[in-house]
Symmetry: D2
Subunit: 252 residues, 4 copies
């Protein structure tokens, strides 16, 4: 699977390092805003001891059509920003390249655009692209079905500098119909990231907890998504839709 990557910030770099190590994937190029690192090789830049892979381009310096002519890909992975899609969207659809976006927020107009794209190619979007968090959401949804009356509270802990309530916590809350006042945010020191869903029964408590260790978790999420999109040719997918089949006894 040939891969193009949009975005090369801290998370983009971590995702690139995971793709580089994955045997089924080949990183063809990275597009980033900054012109620093222009034309350098990702594998060399990240110091990975592997065959040379992934040329870095600045979005200002190369048109997407030229890039795709010279370096065709099967899937574009987007860790850039809300605007990234404008650069590659139309061309991706034209060439039936799959889109995997982990952009944290899109306004409705862009979501509509993605849905239109999805009539012609497979489009995936998840604001949190880790297996762990998405598993937590679905697993807890099922617990809610089993025991509709239990109380649910979300604890989230992050480093002191993170000001706002965790976006992941909000997504969990919305998926589980938990009131936002039931998100309890702790900001202390250098905590990387922890989310815990407390499920209170009268005589027992169930806790589902996710602890982040490193941004590379997003890379593993991308690999999982790419593998599970392999046989899809079109359609608009969330992480939930890709995970749900695993929860069915039909697949045992």
């Amino acid at each position: 699977m040939k891969v193009g990557l949009m975005g090369f910030g801290k998370t983009g770099k971590a995702v690139a390092s995971v793709i580089l190590k994955n045997e089924k994937m080949k990183l063809e190029w990275v597009i980033r805003k900054s012109e620093i690192l222009e034309q350098r090789s990702v594998s060399e830049f990240l110091g990975e001891n592997i065959e040379d892979q992934g040329r870095i381009y600045s979005i200002q310096k190369i048109r997407i059509s030229k890039l795709l002519d010279e370096h065709p890909v099967d899937v574009i992975i987007d860790f850039s920003s809300e605007e990234g899609i404008h650069y590659y969207g139309e061309e991706a659809v034209k060439r039936k390249i799959k889109i995997i976006s982990a952009v944290s927020h899109y306004d409705n107009k862009i979501i509509q655009k993605l849905k239109n794209y999805s009539k012609k190619t497979a489009v995936f979007w998840s604001p949190n692209i880790t297996i762990g968090v998405n598993y937590l959401i679905i697993a807890t949804k099922f617990l809610r079905k089993i025991a509709p009356d239990i109380d649910m509270v979300i604890l989230e802990e992050h480093f002191k500098e993170k000001l706002e309530v965790s976006g992941t916590a909000k997504v969990i809350a919305e998926n589980l119909n938990i009131d936002h006042t039931e998100i309890k945010s702790t900001r202390a020191g250098g905590i990387i990231g922890k989310h815990e869903i407390i499920c209170g029964f009268p005589f027992q408590t169930v806790r589902l907890t996710h602890e982040s260790i490193a941004r590379e978790a997003f890379g593993n999420g991308v690999v999982f998504v790419a593998e599970n999109l392999e046989e899809k040719t079109k359609g608009f997918f969330s992480f939930e839709e890709l995970l749900l089949p695993y929860f069915s006894d039909r697949y045992n």
Copy 2:
């Protein structure tokens, strides 16, 4: 739903107190080994401020056929011991009374007998009849399917006096193909009971935790099982079989 209860130790009493408060259930009788409390009323004995319910009998003093003639039930709930089934089994099958057993261990001969019974009536058996623990097992099975390579370790904590490894931890281990050396047992003070499954990914950690608060959790488990057996007329059921349908998107 008319209910008969086998066993009136600490757990049996806690289960009885939950049944007494459940509006859809009526406790008809309790059978216990000891002759103490003979003929007393369960609701009065437990000090529940409700309509008089549940006469207590000693297994030595009354035959099951006489008991069922005078106080017919729809379901027999068994918190006694491995031998309990010999007292009521045949008669339950004859009268198509459902059997819900939470006995912690049966040898193969008895399991075979239960399976024979299940050709004529609905038979349920689970050595741990809490929703929480059984949910944990199934939810983690699905995580294993999603991410077959993650490491799994089971932590269990109980009060100092509990000598052996927790039976629940062993059941979790067997269900998840976790080696028994990966069960880490803590014995300290008066800890009621905690089970945690640590699921280690390279860059993230997922934890599923169950904390016991009181034995009444078994009562709520019984209520859940009884409700979910309501439309079954025969068959041999585990907790997993009753929970699985909730995990399917077909039921959303």
Copy 3:
């Protein structure tokens, strides 16, 4: 050590059961508001299989001077309410009986009164009389001295019905100069009681956690306090003052 107990609600009963089992203590009497149980024996009522101990009296039926003439005690333990002290205070001082109060709140006038009493007898007051919580407060105070810049957040979890913020959490916050907005309260199901102080360093996190199992913990706190007051003849003591000497290397 002969003991009188004020208050016989849920906590009073749990405290009584611990005192009954303590070999160095003898429960002489219990005073309670209600007239139910009047004149019954505590050991018999609680079903403890020990020598008959502790007569139960209603506060309306017996004067403290008569009670103390007939059943003298070395220490009065108060788990009643703010008003309890008016019943026994003057008489306790006159007879140099020690006072151990676990009443959750006193207004300033009463605190002043207690301080006056403490010029003549040993008076102890702590709104949370468990070893665990008080240890947590002091241990964390020392951590604050060691690392003044760390971030501290308090998590507290209790059963759904507990409406207000935990008083213990507030006491922890005041002792550690933590803003009350940094108390994160979770209310879910039947959680008995959990307090966690998260201490966030830039590159490590320290957590001090206290989990309640049963009200008997208050009884063990009382025993600890009584033993540590043994050689005090006067003075006003908090739990902190009794614990501090254990934290000194001089006592190693």
Copy 4:
């Protein structure tokens, strides 16, 4: 305070980065085994945006006396190996340079040597030089004094590849007289490092937990030790000895 650093592996680098950012410290040099990076500047190598600091030398290329003549220091920090002390020990003592060693193990002969050195200069050694872990040990020692009968169990969690039981867990166990069988080791995925001491009372549980986020925690430990050694001119110190004064009310 002028500082020399022995060792420039992963931990050495993290410690260097903390020293570079500390305003009271100046990193004069780093000594390492490898000849790679010879003569490069630490601040430049680590990409820290500060005044040029810290020249890197290989142990093969420069004698300690020449190094100290040209770049005198007040303290030598040792994150190398058991042999490191042979390189700088004698010369440090002669020049009354303080020694702060975080080497994980020394045999008795070397410990004796360090003690001899400590008659002439201040020598500090701790196999785990984080504030958090050392605080945990002392705080729990005091809890043991307060409640000698409680049960203590140590949980430690680390990444899959860490084969042996955590050395820190062993140090905790030895300090608290906990049997080594009561260390429960979990190896799963990429867990950075977690130590938890469970203190079980009959009716309550206290947990002291330390979670590692990054190796820089060792750097902050070094800074703390250096500051607390400032007024010591000789003597052999452990982390415990430096922390103990903070636990005394005399210092309030």
